[in-house]
Symmetry: C2
Subunit: 265 residues, 2 copies
């Protein structure tokens, strides 16, 4: 995997100039020259290219270069989830080295947990094929349940309400909230949720051949996401997983939670 692909120096320089331009709010050729150490003709060519690409502009009145206003739209496709996913990726990676089994990171989105990152590919065990963007049921998964368990009461209620109106039969357990809430309280108390292979509850049975434990990723008091660890049914047991790996899983969740982005909307 360690690639020996070369990088493109000309492009790297261009990015460097862009960053310098972003750093100063506006800059003259001379300033960029001093800041980046690039020769002025080189800068002239780079800036020309950035201009043509709509990334930079040169004001006609003073000759100074600025970042183009169109750059404002670059970030707007990206949500907090992307930041979490990016931040979590290396943590998942290390976690997967310590613990052989794969783990997933998911956030709540519109009635289900959506997987942001995963370390499945890194393990020899093909527990399942869930990909990024895959949506996991709230009540039939460890990740969904631990998210609910650590949500503020109002949000929890709202989510359960939504699930009870869902078309998906797996969500219908939410129509019997008292049982569900009792279970969630237990998960909350012990700090993790479990879904064993063949998990059956509330009238439905899970057909997966994998088990999973999940812990919340907290930013202060707020649940950002769920982090889970899966194992193949038969290869090991829930008790072993909890004994051996729960602490490590929790520390990974803590790590993701602490080096968090600013609390957005």
């Amino acid at each position: 995997m360690q690639t020996r692909v070369k990088s493109v120096r000309a492009l790297a320089r261009g990015l460097e100039v862009f960053k310098a331009l972003h750093h100063h709010r506006s800059a003259s050729l001379q300033e960029l020259h001093q800041d980046t150490g690039l020769a002025k003709p080189t800068l002239l060519r780079i800036l020309k290219t950035l201009e043509e690409g709509g990334i930079a502009r040169r004001s006609a009145s003073d000759g100074r270069y600025r970042v183009s206003a169109s750059v404002r739209f670059f970030g707007q496709n990206l949500g907090e989830e992307d930041a979490i996913a990016e931040l979590a990726a290396p943590v998942l990676d290390r976690l997967c080295r310590d613990v052989i089994w794969p783990s997933d990171l998911a956030v709540y989105k519109e009635g289900a947990m959506e997987i942001l990152e995963s370390s499945r590919h890194q393990t020899p065990f093909m527990v399942n094929r869930d990909r990024i963007g895959f949506r996991v049921h709230m009540l039939m998964s460890a990740m969904g349940r631990i998210y609910l368990a650590f949500s503020p009461a109002a949000e929890r209620r709202a989510i359960l309400m939504r699930l009870s109106r869902s078309n998906d039969p797996y969500d219908h357990a939410a129509r019997n909230p008292s049982t569900v809430l009792a279970d969630l309280a237990k998960d909350r108390a012990r700090g993790y949720a479990v879904r064993e292979a063949g998990y059956g509850r509330w009238g439905y049975t899970d057909r997966s051949r994998a088990g999973a434990i999940a812990v919340p990723v907290m930013q202060g008091r707020r649940v950002l996401a769920s982090l889970s660890l899966s194992w193949a049914a038969g290869a090991t047991t829930r008790e072993q997983m909890v004994d051996q790996h729960l602490d490590r899983l929790k520390s990974a969740a803590a790590e993701i939670g602490t080096c968090l982005p600013a609390p957005a909307a």
Copy 2:
């Protein structure tokens, strides 16, 4: 001025790949290959470079490339003003070709009009040396007065209040609001404001050797900015300027106002 500086193809390609990546929310190498027409080894190198630059990332779980979350911060230095300035630049440019005299574009900011763009450099007449970022008094300038004249009453009141507390003696005319408001009403009625060379009013005299007329740049009912036209005292008169160029000035302001950005906060 028409430069024959070459652009850097490698950089242009890199930007193209970034844009493709931004367009799709995530993309595989193959997709980028089809989308951009670039050879896969080339893409591999470019993507490596973008990753090293913190612009893109490759998810470890699926092999797909995404725009890095750090890109979110690129736009945050930029305000609506930057968009206005960028949009206005070519309009000012054309205006200056039709009318020989230089014009300025300014927005209200913290008790003064701040110049965003100017076409002074393009004319032989060095009327004055105001640069981008230069701050112009609200009451002693045509730009400031026309901005006030077209502001909603509440904002106008707030600005005058602020000026009356200012340390700058030029702002103190605001302490006598009834006179000022009467003058602003006249400017509003005729649609433009004037400051002639040696302009004296409210107990203070302008020392500039230039005259100026200004019109508002409207976005619907909202004043975005002021657009002004300056001339050298003695070279021409206010009447001539109004007769010959006011319509052109207004059309330029309208042009800026219509191809506006989305109404932000």
